[in-house]
Symmetry: C2
Subunit: 358 residues, 2 copies
């Protein structure tokens, strides 16, 4: 059914102007809108423009992609030969089957080395103002280079990774098609991966449908949860397209965060004392899929995560009912996960550097 939907969306794309944003929740809902669904009820007309002032914005749907580049980027995202072992891919830690994360406290890397920090989701990562918890990469392209050469992650190096691709005629052909150059560079590898990752957004959440005027897409208590989310000022940090990701803030504003005092966060980038324990505010899109939570993965339950935030960031204690409602609201932020046709990768040959599991 997803295939048919994708095909339908592809057909439809010719009708959408370049980089256009479809002003309704889903393609399927377009017909509902025309037959009046979501225009009645408590909204009575003006709600769309009213909700356009909400601090959370619906994820735009874009068709303005360089198809050849994102197809190449997808192959690279699933390419185990970018790792020293020939076994670890971008998808190993940012699994598109499971919300763009590995659902582990910290990721497993080369030789089963365990990373120092929880892996953030790749879904909607384009909405982050910078990448990594400490924002040390300015964008997805810069981020993509990191894990390939990190000895605790893919443990390769840029020369080797490029050498592997350069040895495979199909890759040479694809890179030439996209970058007009037979010489593959790590910059182009990262550029293609980033281009693919930019497509990994999750539109059409129930909350986005509500933002677009479809009242019945969220329940009364979910709506109350959103009201509480604003009233308790969670919204100060968690807003915009990603419901977060657009600012850095200290973890432990109202009360020093005592569960992890080792990870210094943004300080590692700026060496500025006031940036100690400052982290990029994580995206809350699809948050129900991406446990465990926080940079230190100290919490597995979304309820507990909400209460921790209230305690350490806002200095308030929520009632059980308030927590329930905020959690219910957060669950409305789960959108359509990307439909990915699993890529078929070209084989190695006698010129391809061999994998090394050691």
């Amino acid at each position: 059914m997803k295939i048919i939907k994708l095909a339908a969306m592809t057909c439809l794309s010719v009708f959408v102007f370049v980089n256009g944003v479809i002003p309704t929740a889903t393609i399927a809902d377009e017909s509902q809108r025309q037959i009046g669904y979501g225009r009645g009820g408590r909204m009575q007309g003006g709600a769309v423009s009213e909700r356009s002032k909400e601090p959370i914005r619906p994820i735009p749907i874009s068709f303005d992609y360089d198809t050849a580049k994102i197809e190449l980027g997808k192959k690279l995202f699933f390419e185990p030969r970018l790792s020293k072992s020939g076994w670890i891919t971008c998808n190993s830690c940012h699994n598109l089957s499971t919300g763009g994360v590995d659902n582990l406290p910290t990721s497993i890397g080369h030789k089963w080395m365990l990373g120092p920090i929880n892996s953030p989701t790749v879904l909607n990562a384009k909405f982050n103002l910078a990448q990594f918890w400490d924002g040390r990469a300015k964008d997805l392209k810069e981020q993509a280079k990191g894990p390939i050469a990190n000895p605790m992650e893919m443990a390769s190096n840029h020369g080797l990774a490029v050498g592997v691709l350069q040895s495979i005629p199909a890759y040479v052909r694809w890179f030439k098609e996209v970058y007009k150059d037979e010489k593959i560079t790590i910059d182009n590898v990262a550029d293609a991966i980033a281009a693919f990752e930019e497509t990994l957004t999750t539109p059409n959440s129930r909350f986005d449908a509500w933002l677009n005027g479809y009242d019945d897409k969220i329940s009364e208590s979910e709506w109350q949860g959103y009201d509480l989310f604003k009233a308790k000022v969670c919204i100060t940090c968690h807003n915009g397209f990603g419901v977060g990701g657009n600012s850095f803030h200290k973890f432990g504003v109202a009360k020093p965060y005592d569960k992890d005092t080792q990870t210094l966060g943004r300080y590692n980038v700026t060496k500025d004392e006031k940036d100690k324990y400052v982290f990029k505010v994580p995206l809350l899109r699809n948050i129900e899929l991406t446990a465990p939570y926080f940079h230190d993965a100290s919490v597995w339950s979304l309820r507990e995560a909400v209460n921790t935030m209230a305690e350490y960031q806002l200095g308030v204690a929520l009632t059980d009912d308030e927590t329930d409602k905020i959690v219910a609201f957060l669950r409305t932020l789960t959108g359509d996960q990307p439909s990915i046709l699993f890529p078929i990768l070209p084989p190695s040959n006698e010129n391809t550097p061999k994998p090394n599991r050691n």
Copy 2:
């Protein structure tokens, strides 16, 4: 384009009788057949029936699948929570991006433990008379249970793996839909995985097209390679749908195999002295994708693999020209890899056993 093709094939399936075999090479070629392509040339009519006596059989295309079951099986095939770490899947070692194998000498398992033997491909595995190199599992269903509980592979146990699935309402619903039972069993888990794996065939290779009467699909030297493959009696073991997989034979018939004397093969199952160094004959379908070769992964090049077989199994030395032609023929056995829409998996919850990386 693959999506469109898949959609077209789905539409077409209603015209194909249950379990039917499409008598031409590909759907796309159907039109070519009607305009005469492949019916002319050196074949002149009778070639299809003549080639129907060839010892290699074209892979049949079947649409007789239980869709709900294979969709569930696909999810399980890509389900990291079947492993103790929550990180290793069936696809980790039988990667559908890379010919159904990991292209490693032996697979990497839990805590980076390295397996004892090269992982065979899952593609066309349904054509094997039994599973594993020593044939210790009688079918795909029996095979599927092994790695989940193998401490060197996924390192879980059947109770834990089933417990994880049972804790997730979506899985309970899917299992109930397929097996009419809310209680998930390891037997049903394996049954669903096996059902998915049975769909993982690779029809439409150039060689199959040739078998189906399309002369121009293979070149003169590829055809000569096939003739040599028969003349040198490789065909004695490598025949049928899988071009192998349907018999057990000793590795080292003409000359004792001296590169690995540790792995006893079929003997481990039968304890019969004459089964020492006896292995299931591997499938040669897509062989260009599945290096390194042999149970001990002792060879990375297809040329060298062919020469090794000639030396140890047949006691002959091939000329360079003969090896080249046989290799050229083997490359015609690469078929259409399965089109897999990457599954979206349901999230864990507070009742789900946590992953354990230790």
